[in-house]
């Protein structure tokens, strides 16, 4: 199997307005919006939020429309599955039925709401990931969210390990494959057992490497205090402005939705 490329490359210049914002603030906003959405169960409110989020992400990052559409695929498919299951399996006013299958009004409504929620969180997560360098995020979490230096650099060391992992994985898979009997059609084996064996080998090799990395980090003085920070990640007025703007829009949408009588909460699940 081929070496997969992991994530987006560190240090690859993230462009667009969103890329210049503080990573911790972006992560916090994504978190708040996701949390609020969990308590909304009508289809209209998330639909409006999705349109707004899509416009905001398209405008503030420079993801090409085609790439943005492709990135939607995994969670759009997931959303569709959620929609269908809910439409078919939720008791309520029956719209259509055939044998054991029946579609209900409540099912359609809740299903659409959940599917749209997946889309909103998905498109925001795309915007976040596309505009944020993981290494900068860790530095920012260290400075703005008081994540300890040892945890911060342990995670960054893990990231470095992750960068080399596709190569390591491919070598292990090849080294195992050469010892495996061929399948009847002459191809190399792939299957759960082979993957499990390769995964175990990867785990063993990585645990040992991790122990040596920890020794390297300690030999560089990680854990001494006080320490200084070279090139701090700044928190600017624009970051606060963005946070205020996003929260204001979210609040306004909820308010208008409630006034128009669309907004529904958790109790929609229990009919």
């Amino acid at each position: 199997m081929s070496a997969p490329a992991v994530g987006r490359p560190a240090g690859a210049a993230a462009v667009g307005v969103l890329a210049r914002r503080n990573p911790t603030v972006k992560l916090g906003l994504l978190f708040v919006v996701s949390l609020v959405l969990v308590f909304i169960l009508d289809p209209v409110t998330p639909a409006v939020l999705y349109v707004l989020a899509l416009i905001a992400v398209a405008a503030s990052t420079r993801i090409a429309p085609r790439a943005l559409a492709l990135l939607h695929l995994p969670f759009a498919a997931f959303g569709l599955g959620v929609f269908l299951v809910n439409a078919l399996s939720r008791p309520g006013e029956v719209l259509w039925s055939a044998g054991p299958l029946r579609i209900t009004v409540e099912g359609l409504s809740v299903g659409a709401s959940l599917a749209l929620r997946t889309l909103v969180i998905g498109v925001l997560a795309i915007g976040f990931i596309a505009s944020t360098d993981g290494v900068r995020l860790m530095h920012s979490l260290h400075q703005q969210a008081r994540l300890g230096p040892r945890v911060t650099y342990a995670v960054l060391a893990g990231y470095r390990m992750l960068q080399e992992m596709p190569r390591e994985w491919q070598t292990i898979r090849q080294a195992h494959a050469v010892r495996a009997p061929l399948r009847p059609d002459g191809t190399l084996p792939r299957g759960a057992t082979a993957l499990a064996r390769a995964s175990f080998a990867l785990l063993v090799i990585s645990v040992r490497k991790g122990e040596r990395m920890a020794q390297s980090l300690e030999s560089r003085g990680l854990g001494l205090s006080p320490r200084t920070t070279w090139r701090p990640v700044r928190l600017s007025a624009a970051d606060w402005l963005m946070a205020a703007g996003v929260l204001a829009v979210l609040g306004a949408v909820l308010l208008v939705s409630a006034m128009l009588g669309h907004l529904e909460g958790i109790d929609a699940l229990f009919g």
């Binding site: 992560l27 599955g81 990585s206």
Partner: protein, 209 residues
């Protein structure tokens, strides 16, 4: 003459976390994050092909997301190891593997970690038998199920109890018993000899090989 051999027999301890333990938790997160990612490539295609059934099939593999917590606890044998390991794994998944599930994964991870850790905590991090692992998987899967049910709207569906049953079973087998198998395998290879697990096993007389 100076003789030093850190006394690690009594758990839990109050000493700060050694860096190697922290890095180990990260390594577990990285390796499992990567391996899931390899599996998920095949899995996503499969679940799209399965359509609505794919939504249900996710429960069969739900337990495998719990593995990191019992492994971390068994190796470093410290309070909160399971919770921290799960959260670190979710951070790596979101931040470096670009999981589009987004930061809600952090909360799911923390809940899972708490669930998986409770049975070990109840034994004061001393018992590592099959039953503890099985309970760990059961609790981890159970707690996170109710959170996911809220996120994905499973409440009120006809399938609610089917989902719950599959989820719990998967938790026990993949998130509990499988963890014990992996821990035993790792202990045999010697790469965790310098962690708490190596010391307790040595004390218990498993040290000859």
């Amino acid at each position: 003459m100076v003789s030093t051999s850190p006394d690690r027999q009594t758990a839990p301890r109050r000493t700060p976390w050694p860096l190697k333990d922290l890095v180990l938790l990260v390594v577990l997160g990285v390796v499992f994050g990567f391996v899931y990612w390899v599996f998920v490539q095949a899995w996503t295609a499969l679940s799209i092909a399965m359509g609505p059934a794919g939504d249900l099939a996710q429960h069969f593999l739900a337990g495998s997301w719990l593995l990191v917590a019992p492994l971390a606890i068994a190796i470093v044998q410290r309070p909160f190891a399971g919770v921290i390991a799960e959260v670190l794994a979710s951070v790596i998944e979101v931040v470096f593997l670009g999981s589009a599930v987004g930061p809600m994964l952090f909360i799911a991870a923390a809940i899972q970690g708490v669930g998986s850790e409770l049975p070990f905590a109840a034994t004061r991090y001393r018992s590592y038998g099959w039953l503890t692992y099985a309970l760990s998987g059961l609790m981890g899967a159970g707690l996170v199920f109710f959170y996911s049910a809220l996120r994905f709207g499973w409440y009120g569906q006809d399938l609610f109890f089917t989902r719950l049953a599959i989820h719990l079973l998967s938790g026990v087998v993949l998130g509990g018993l499988l963890a014990k198998v992996i821990v035993e395998g790792l202990a045999r290879t010697g790469v965790v000899d310098n962690f708490a697990i190596g010391q307790t096993r040595l004390a218990a007389g498993h040290g000859t090989r």
